[in-house]
């Protein structure tokens, strides 16, 4: 691995693994993610995809191995605000509307230049549901509300855990389009999914998990 390579890389994992009760959850992983790249995390149910993403997000501590961010050991305050994570739990308050939920997120993370809450909600397909409490949305509509965060907030690396689940065909196409735009603009993304991805912005990197 050359020096030029490692400066260009956004995120780099070296012999990375996570221990639960002193047993590794998945076999050690080595991978590298550059700006403009999409990585697909593949593996069967229970192979550790969610665990990996939560570790990259800084929610779990690194078990063994090393994680580097822009060539230097990853520190939480270094990359704060540059990473967005979307997990199985959507992080939406059920009593607030999609609009209010997004406003709060923007208050903490800031906004992309030129992005507005209303425009983002329209783009994600929630027009007419802006002021409905999230509790009253259908499963796919909730997912869309969570995905709207990606469009609104500024971030370099997206960690998406099964972003396609519960979405209809139009929604799946929408996510694919969003991913393409993001990587074309120099962002990177790590996506877990069981199928449904179709990516036209270059060959995605594959990360295979083995339990």
């Amino acid at each position: 691995m050359t020096a030029a390579n490692s400066t260009a890389s956004l995120l780099e994992a070296r012999a990375l693994s996570f221990l639960r009760q002193d047993e590794p959850v998945f076999a050690p992983l080595d991978f590298q993610l550059r700006a403009g790249e999409l990585a697909l995390v593949e593996g069967d149910n229970g192979s550790g995809k969610t665990t990996l993403l939560r570790m990259l997000a800084g929610l779990l501590h690194v078990g063994e191995g090393e994680l580097r961010w822009r060539g230097e050991p990853l520190q939480r305050d270094r990359c704060a605000g540059e990473i967005l994570f979307l997990g199985h739990q959507l992080g939406l308050k059920a009593d607030l509307s999609p609009c209010e939920n997004l406003r709060i997120a923007a208050g903490l993370h800031g906004c992309r230049d030129g992005a507005s809450v209303a425009a983002v909600l329209a783009e994600i397909g929630l027009r007419g549901y802006e002021d409905e409490p999230v509790r009253r949305l259908s499963a796919g509509q909730k997912k869309r509300a969570a995905l709207a965060r990606l469009l609104l907030l500024p971030a370099t690396l997206w960690l998406l855990d099964e972003p396609y689940a519960n979405l209809d065909r139009i929604g799946i196409a929408l996510v694919n389009r969003i991913l393409e735009t993001h990587t074309a603009a120099g962002g990177a993304a790590l996506v877990t999914s069981h199928g449904a991805v179709s990516f036209h912005g270059g060959e995605p990197r594959h990360i295979r998990m083995h339990a």
Partner: protein, 71 residues
Amino acid sequence: MSAPQTFFTMGGYAAYVWPAYAVFFIVLIADTVAPRLRRRRVLRELRARLVRQQARQDRAGSNSIPTPPSP
């Protein structure tokens, strides 16, 4: 003591009798007024809803074909 005066002093119990009657009337008047106000609000909301529905129908009519998913 004149008749109107005894009426108003209530034999020394005015401080109890008149507030009681005041409460009676104030509460019942409030009970009468509240639904009138609510009726006005309900009708206003109803008209707003009709306008929204009309707008939605117009929109649905104009672009009923959803954008096809990219292959």
